[in-house]
């Protein structure tokens, strides 16, 4: 008999008819709030989104697709995908490791680590880009030695490597990793904290090794949260402008990502191409949102049974 009672308590205010009259709002309040919310959404989200596609298609579908024939645009799309393909797995590994440490163990400086993980959220992306410029730029701390052979001890070695970081792909990837740092970890920490250590202890008592425990117990438990974090991380990695803009050097066809290419095309009076590339970014965002909703839905489905 306890079953129905808990399920009722677990789903408050879902169905209007079942809720007590005192906590139900009058009809006009609901209508006003809904209208305001929808109008706001329409003006600030849907209208600009529609404008992007309208502007991209202003000169017809032919011109729209012609925009993607530009080799610079190809290279921008490729670079954006490459950057995300490196930054997201890197942050996936880091995020899981950090969340594992923080949620499952107690140690000194734990809250400091949590604060540091949040740092990229707190600083402006421009600063994130400048940090790498200050370290690896030719006038920076390490930059003068990279590829110049001027270092007192490793000069010859540096000279042979010809390492390029700023104004090249490694710098763009580094800046993107920095900016997207917190997404996975932030998603997992609360989830793992609520789940506690009980299942892991059980697995260990039954003789599982550390890796087995991770793959068979921890990972399945955090699966959906992890996907969710990865998707958000990916969306930001592909859309990042500020940090990448500082570090890119804007070499056309080499170090421009899609967001930078949009700006370049727009400044070249080529608004159809600019909005065409922007529409591709918007489409990527929409796919991300659909995936995100799907995962939320799956998560909601699996949680009660777990």
């Amino acid at each position: 008999m306890a079953g129905p009672a808990t399920s009722l308590a677990g789903k408050p205010a879902r169905t209007g008819a079942g809720t007590p009259r005192v906590i139900r709002n009058p009809l006009w309040v609901r209508v006003v709030f809904m209208t305001v919310a929808l109008l706001f959404l329409g003006c600030f989200l849907l209208l600009p989104l529609a404008a992007v596609f309208a502007e991209a298609l202003r000169k017809g579908v032919g011109a729209y697709f012609h925009s993607f024939a530009d080799p610079d645009v190809h290279s921008a799309i490729w670079l954006t995908l490459l950057t995300a393909a490196i930054a997201v797995p890197a942050n996936l590994v880091f995020g899981v490791a950090a969340a594992w440490c923080i949620a499952k163990y107690d140690f000194r400086g734990k809250s400091l680590l949590v604060t540091f993980i949040d740092l990229p959220f707190a600083v402006s992306p421009v600063i994130s880009g400048l940090i790498y410029m200050l370290i690896f730029g030719l006038q920076g701390w390490l930059g003068p030695y990279l590829g110049s052979g001027d270092h007192p001890w490793f000069g010859e070695w540096f000279n042979q490597q010809d390492i390029k970081i700023v104004f090249a792909v490694p710098g763009i990837v580094l800046a993107t990793i920095f900016v997207t740092f917190p997404f996975v970890a932030r998603e997992l920490i609360p989830l793992m904290q609520t789940q506690g250590n009980d299942e892991e202890y059980a697995a260990l008592t039954l003789g599982a090794s550390g890796w087995q425990t991770f793959w068979r117990v921890t990972l399945p438990n955090i699966k959906w949260g992890l996907f969710y974090g990865v998707i958000l991380c990916n969306a930001r990695a592909m859309g990042e402008f500020g940090a990448v803009s500082v570090i890119s050097g804007k070499i056309r066809g080499e170090t421009t990502t899609m967001p930078l290419q949009v700006e370049i095309l727009y400044n070249e009076n080529n608004s159809v191409a600019a909005f065409a590339v922007a529409s591709l970014l918007a489409l990527l965002a929409l796919v991300t949102l659909v995936l995100k909703s799907f995962i939320e839905w799956r998560h909601a489905q699996t949680r009660p049974s777990a």
């Binding site: 890197a90 410029m133 730029g137 030719l138 104004f167 090249a168 804007k250 070249e268």
Partner: protein, 331 residues
Amino acid sequence: MKFKVLLSFLVAAALAAAASAKSITLLNVSYDPTRELYVDFNAAFAKYWKAKTGDDVTIKQSHGGSGAQARAINDGLQADVATLALAADVDALFNVGKLVPQDWQKRLPNNSAPYTSTIVFLVRKGNPKGIKDWDDLVKPGVTIVTPNPKTSGGARWNYLAAWGYALKKYGSDDKAKEFIAKLYKNVPVLDSGARGSTTTFVQREIGDVAISWENEAFLALKEYGADKFAIVVPSLSILAEPTVSVVDKVVKKKGTEEVAKAYLDYLYSDEGQEIAARNFYRPRNAAVQAKYAKVFPQLELITIDEAFGGWAKAQKTHFADGGVFDQIYLK
């Protein structure tokens, strides 16, 4: 297992990045409005170089505010050639990074400026505020669009043209400073580069007048239609000399010295001059000048050397930290 896959992927990506960096191409780091000029010129030079040596040369372009671009080269942007808006920005490559020799400007004819331009006004259709000369810009109620002199080369030419006019008309530096202060009071937004300013004026429709490179103004007319905007030529302006230089330290490392030098020399060739003129830059070559005489209006032009004692001095007096621009704009 998955970690191994991930690791090998990271290594492969790093190798790919390193491999693409070694391919022999030239990088031309330039200022904002030269995008179209160098798209044309690069195609012509690649053809010329192929015919001459049989080698394929690809020239990559990077554009931004001239000062910002100089800063990027100093920070390590691997530019084979720098084609910037003014000599002071190439000087910075010597002063900060020692990337070019001190006498870089003497290596090519005409102070290393293969084409010139000047500063004019771009106004809206029918010139509703009746702007004819610099005096009309300081009137109350006129809004001006000009980029930030700290980051943009064009903006510094704009500033100095206005200063030159005021100095000549009112006779003293103090009066000129007053004039400039009034002028910048009418500027609602300072973009970081000349192209950003053009976009602000043309597409975002901010301002009554844009102080602009002549070539950029012509380009705006061409792109957006001569029926929407008009060019107003002031009574006096400045001879703007965008300068070019090979970045010695980079070409020595990359082994591209020969082709980079040929690239800049080709700017002085008949075809290079013709391409410059077609893109609304004033050519140096007398024959090409004569051919395009109708395009470029004649006006009184002061030069940076005569009116300001050279770029080094102008830069220090007007645009350095705490210089005249800071004094009038921060107030």
